[in-house]
């Protein structure tokens, strides 16, 4: 079986982003970009399924500008077999991303589409569920353990109440949580090898997709800052301060 893995190019999680003064967005020029951390986990999980003999091919897909190919190369260096780049300079929101992924899914017929639970730029947490809806497939979001057994899988999900296990028929969409695995480091020879692996490119028009109605961003602002507090010198001082506020 094939596994299709979503790979989004996002601002690296270590970067402290800055809101532009004119409210037009977040400054991304010259900022370090990386693969969305949840997608790295998705790639890793797909590779582990392949290494365990449960999958034959791992295909990485990104939707984004030309530069997103860097993230595809990372996925290929990690071990993905080939990659698909749906090239666009537009801002692609989850419903459109899901429609694009649906079109590729129809073409490639993977048994599992493995996506991150959320992209850490827009924190939407929607694309996997939307793709599952469009395909009328099962979804198992926020996965922390995946056991594939023939035509079904048991997936443990991290939910507010604890750990929930679902049994789902394949094909299905699974979204990854942080504790699913620890992604491998790529080694230099793998990076060299990845350069020879194929990347197929499409435009959105070529896929025959209608972009979905979009949410319009009216402005971007900095969040309300918390007042800087004080350092207290002792437990007594802390307790007195909390008592004064009526907190203890």
């Amino acid at each position: 079986m094939k596994i299709l893995v979503g790979v989004k190019r996002v601002v690296d999680f270590n970067v402290r982003i800055q809101v532009k003064a004119d409210g037009s967005g977040v400054a991304t020029e010259g900022v370090k970009m990386s693969m969305n951390p949840f997608d790295e986990i998705a790639v890793e999980e797909a590779l582990r399924l392949k290494e365990a003999g449960k999958a034959e091919e791992v295909i990485a897909i990104t939707i984004g500008p030309k530069a997103s190919q860097e993230q595809l190369r990372t996925a290929l260096a990690m071990g993905a077999d080939r990659a698909i780049h749906v090239e666009t300079d537009e801002d692609v929101q989850p419903l459109t991303a899901a429609r694009i992924l649906k079109a590729i899914t129809d073409k490639e017929e993977p048994k599992i589409v493995m996506l991150g639970k959320q992209a850490i730029d827009d924190d939407n947490n929607q694309t996997a569920q939307m793709l599952a809806a469009l395909a009328n497939w099962p979804q198992a979001t926020f996965a922390s353990k995946i056991d594939v057994d023939g035509d079904s899988a048991n997936v443990t999900r991290e939910i507010d109440a604890g750990l929930e296990t679902l049994s789902i028929d394949l094909p299905a969409v699974i979204s990854t949580d942080l504790r699913l695995n620890e992604p491998r480091y790529v080694k230099l020879p793998d990076i060299m090898k990845a350069k020879r692996k194929p990347i197929e490119t499409f435009t959105i028009a070529e896929l025959g997709i209608e972009p979905a109605a979009a949410v319009k961003v009216l402005k971007t602002s900095a969040p309300a800052a918390r007042q800087a507090g004080i350092k207290v010198a002792s437990v007594d001082e802390l307790v007195a301060a909390l008592k004064e506020k009526g907190l203890i």
Partner: protein
């Protein structure tokens, strides 16, 4: 005028406090009606709790053995069957709502607004991006507005209502491709719920071990507080995952948040920005958590906690 449908979150017996928070958000929509849908196997008790939330016009109770567990693939088609009667479909931005609502939005061919933190108008909302380091004001396009509500941004609505409860049957085909197997909870049911607690005591990697976490639990019990944790503490296996606070864990807004041995990574801070008072105890004077703490105390948590307990006794 807006007609709002709220999807209740519950465990079959108890309505989750998140539902009353979504109600407060819905009050900002100048709605003509706000209805709450309870999907359950047997949901009379939950429906009654929902009917008591002030401002609710009507509670819809949809009972079906298939609704015993909140499984998105099973709930979504039923909600879609109802949706055309409403202008807004809202659920809390908890793992329950996050899992469910995008599935509905996709079938309705509308985008979703995730983590609504402020209502500017019935179609214009503020929501956080980049772990809360920026806020965008967004406008929903034409069609039904499907959204999740960031529970830490809204308080629970009062419970002085007595809305009517109407049983509904929804006859749509439900898929059999998704089956509930089990739910493992961490068994801290006798402690306050992290997302609803007025006080939270939280431990990080600095706590060092599962055994050491006992000091965090003991202090929490003394204060009547819930217990939280950083991702590093959860990853190290000190404490189960449902205690994680932050961008990818729970977003909370207690009156008092006390952190011990947590450095204050932006992903952790994303979960506590709405806390009333933040207290940080860390042995590193340069730990970033001190930049946002109202009261910081530099020192070893294993020395400070016993002193605190003495002072509180």
């Amino acid at each position: 005028m807006a007609k709002v449908l709220i999807i209740a979150e519950h465990d079959g017996k108890k309505l989750n406090g998140s539902t009353a928070r979504v109600m407060t958000c819905a009050q900002g929509l100048s709605a003509e009606s706000v209805e709450i849908a309870v999907f359950a196997a047997e949901g009379a008790a939950v429906a009654e709790q929902a009917a008591a939330i002030s401002g609710v016009t009507k509670v819809l109770l949809i009972e079906n053995p298939a609704n015993e567990h909140a499984t998105a693939a099973i709930l979504a088609p039923q909600i879609e069957a109802l949706a055309s009667e409403y202008s807004h479909v809202l659920a809390p931005s908890t793992t329950f709502g996050k899992d469910l609502t995008p599935r509905i939005a996709a079938h309705l061919a509308v985008p979703q607004i995730s983590d609504i933190m402020r209502v500017e108008s019935p179609r214009i909302f503020d929501r956080p991006i980049y772990a809360g380091n920026a806020v965008i004001t967004v406008e929903a396009p034409e069609g039904i507005v499907v959204g999740t509500v960031r529970t830490a941004s809204f308080s629970e609505a009062e419970k002085t209502g007595s809305a009517t409860i109407e049983k509904r049957e929804i006859n749509v085909e439900l898929p059999s491709h998704t089956r509930f197997v089990k739910l493992e909870t961490s068994g801290s049911a006798d402690r306050p719920d992290l997302q609803a607690a007025a006080k939270v005591v939280s431990g990080g990697r600095g706590v060092g071990s599962t055994e050491n976490f006992k000091v965090i639990y003991d202090l929490a019990d003394k204060l009547g507080a819930a217990v939280g944790a950083s991702r590093a503490a959860v990853d190290a296996g000190f404490i189960p995952n449902d205690h994680q606070v932050g961008q990818t864990g729970k977003i909370i807004a207690p009156e008092l948040y006390m952190s011990f041995g947590i450095s204050g990574a932006i992903q952790h801070l994303a979960g506590i920005k709405d806390a009333g008072t933040i207290v940080a105890i860390n042995k590193d004077p340069d730990a970033p958590i001190f930049e946002i703490a109202d009261f910081g105390l530099v020192g070893d948590l294993f020395e400070i906690i016993p002193e605190l307990e003495k002072a509180l006794a």
